[in-house]
């Protein structure tokens, strides 16, 4: 065959390709669906009732866990989706927290020392918006740096960025009120810890939805392609610069929201809350949760946040720590690195990998470790062999 005996180009309109169906997926039968829906409903009801009847103290703990989960999702965008390392996330969260607190007290004029108990609702909404914006800007600046610098050097830059923020921005008295801290009163609607917890949970739900659609849409695919190889991504018409910045800005938006919630949970923001240790712990909780897997990240982050309070429930452990004259919170910095080490050696996929059979099953797949839920039919070995040696099989039969 040579090139010359080829017919001239065919008119495009005459080429009609038949519609092709995707390979069939495995799906549970009616009984399987019924059991799954029953289990999910039971989980939702039990959790809902438990959360609804929670006392004020534990509601506050859950709020902190939810804030950690949002921070985890924020870091997950950088660590899991762009494949870079951020060791300066305490700067983003801290900056946003101060911006939120500053707006309520100084701009919206709700000064606790002047007897202001409740923040105005409008001021609160604007404060949260400004906090998110500050997170986007701070993280976007880091994204611009990340356009030129990658890997270890970028990690180093985020580290210095964090230290720089702590030692410069967090020292501005008009923003942070020095060591005394900047008050951040809540609006009347969210004044109880329980209501605030519900607000935090709603914020987490929004973040999870955005994160889900981000990864499932062309945006997330482009970001994953850039992580894999910039040259290949560009060859698929992906604007590498824009998508890198977009990922960093999404991470900043989540960090900003978490910062605002952080401020209103304690109702006062002190610069001492945002130290390098917290940034390190946040990176560890994302690694333990499972890089790039939002379910695992949320569970890992919540575990790290609740760990000190869970220790208190175990009397022998809390007694042991009390004898050592140590805070349960300090113990997190001991157990966290140990967990991260175990994760990296034994199961790099983290908690997400460990619970994958359960999440697969709940999502309507088989109870399996397979990343795609094992839901797509694979040709059996026999079918494969038959396919390969089709002429020979015909002869023998």
């Amino acid at each position: 065959m040579t090139a010359t005996d080829i017919a001239p180009p065919v008119d495009e309109s005459t080429v009609v390709l038949p519609a092709v169906k995707e390979p069939t997926r495995w799906r549970p039968n009616t009984r399987g669906w019924a059991i799954r829906i029953a289990v999910i409903a039971a989980l939702v009801i039990v959790l809902g009732v438990r959360l609804a009847t929670l006392g004020g103290l534990w509601a506050d703990h859950i709020s902190q866990a939810v804030i950690f989960a949002i921070i985890g999702l924020s870091l997950n965008v950088i660590l899991g989706y762009t494949g870079q390392v951020s060791l300066g996330h305490h700067a983003f969260v801290g900056l946003a927290a101060f911006v939120a607190a500053h707006h309520i007290t100084e701009r919206a004029g709700c000064l606790p020392e002047e007897g202001c108990q409740y923040a105005p609702m409008g001021g609160f909404a604007v404060a949260v918006g400004l906090a998110i914006l500050s997170g986007i800007i701070a993280s976007g600046l880091l994204g611009i740096v990340a356009l030129r610098i990658k890997g270890l050097y970028l990690a180093l830059i985020t580290l210095t960025y964090g230290f720089f923020a702590v030692n410069s921005i967090f020292e501005i008295p008009s923003l942070t009120r020095g060591g005394a801290g900047m008050p951040a009163p809540r609006p009347k609607l969210l004044i109880t810890d329980h209501r605030f917890m519900v607000f935090c949970l709603a914020a987490l739900a929004v973040c999870l939805f955005i994160d889900w659609r981000f990864l499932a849409s062309r945006i997330g695919r482009a970001v994953l392609a850039v992580k894999n190889s910039e040259a290949v991504a560009a060859s698929y018409a992906v604007n590498v610069t824009a998508y890198k910045l977009m990922a960093f800005m999404l991470s900043g938006a989540f960090a900003g929201l978490a910062g605002a919630l952080f401020a209103y949970r304690r109702q006062i923001v002190v610069s001492n809350d945002f130290r390098f240790e917290s940034a390190l712990l946040w990176v560890l909780m994302v690694v333990v949760g499972g890089l790039g897997k939002r379910t695992g990240v949320v569970i890992g982050s919540m575990f790290f946040a609740l760990f000190p309070y869970l220790i208190d429930l175990v009397t022998p452990l809390s007694d042991f720590l009390a004898n050592l004259d140590r805070d349960p919170e300090e113990f997190t910095l001991v157990i966290g690195p140990a967990l991260a080490l175990i994760t990296m050696i034994i199961s790099p996929g983290g908690i997400a990998e460990q619970i994958r059979p359960i999440t697969n099953w709940l999502a309507g797949n088989r109870f399996t470790m397979h990343p795609d839920g094992g839901s797509h039919h694979k040709p059996s070995l026999l079918a494969k062999l038959r396919n390969r040696s089709a002429p020979a099989a015909e002869e023998s039969s």
Binding site: M1, T2, A3, I6, A7, P9, V10, E12, V15, L17, P18, A19, V20, K21, E22, P23, F209, I210, W212, R213, F214, A216, S217, R218, I219, R221, A222, L224, A225, N228, S229, A231, V232, A234, S235, Y236, A237, V238, N239, V240, M246, L250, P371, D372, H376, P379
Partner: protein, 267 residues
Amino acid sequence: MAVLEVRDMSIRFGGLQALENVSIDVPEWEIVGLIGPNGAGKTTLFNCIMGLYSPNSGKVAYRDHDISLLPTHRKVALGIGRTFQNIGLVKELTVLENYLLAQHARIGYGPFSGMFGMPNTWFAERRARASAMEVLDFLGLAHLAHSRLGGLPYGTLKLIEIGSVLATDPDVILLDEPSSGMGPDEAHSFGEQLLKLRQTLNLTVLMIEHHVPLVTAVCDYVYCMNFGQILTHGKPAEVASHPEVVAAYLGGEIEVDHPKEVEDATS
């Protein structure tokens, strides 16, 4: 009219002149081959055309429009597809997801509607999945749609990559050693597939290829490069028997003072 024109492309990496005044024409509906020994600058030329490298001098024109300064992703969106020597696919994604990625420019909804899950994005994704399945079926790969890339053989990956370039809706495709890793039989059937592709999709092809029987069977015109220059160009059979080309491949005496037309040597 040439679909793709490269004029006097030169690039220098430190002391190495990787390309020197390379000019290539890729006319409409032709399969143009680019051969030459390792290190001749073939892949460098591809990278310069696509804008992954910025050449020191030279122009690239696509259908008479100068696109030398466009960024890579804009060139791809215009309709110039490109494959890589060592497989340009995203390993973390399934075959189908790679084909969705390839349709990035075509899907075209904004980042915010994507992140907030607007209804139009769901429909766009569904349409993209259907077109991805079309391309997969066209190449006879539909059964692999949900496979991860990890377990697939190299030759299959090469074919999948060509499919993913087709999913970018190209007008001209640049193939970087498409038959590497294929046996003679596979290479032959690949050649037939390429001709079929060109016939049904009206593609224009520029391809780097070492497999000489494939080049002679498929290509309409061949350029041979060595040491960053065009050694000679002409019809496949003429170039393959050209003494300088044989010398370049077998390592004989090489005299490349100035590029010669093939016609001079044969007549």
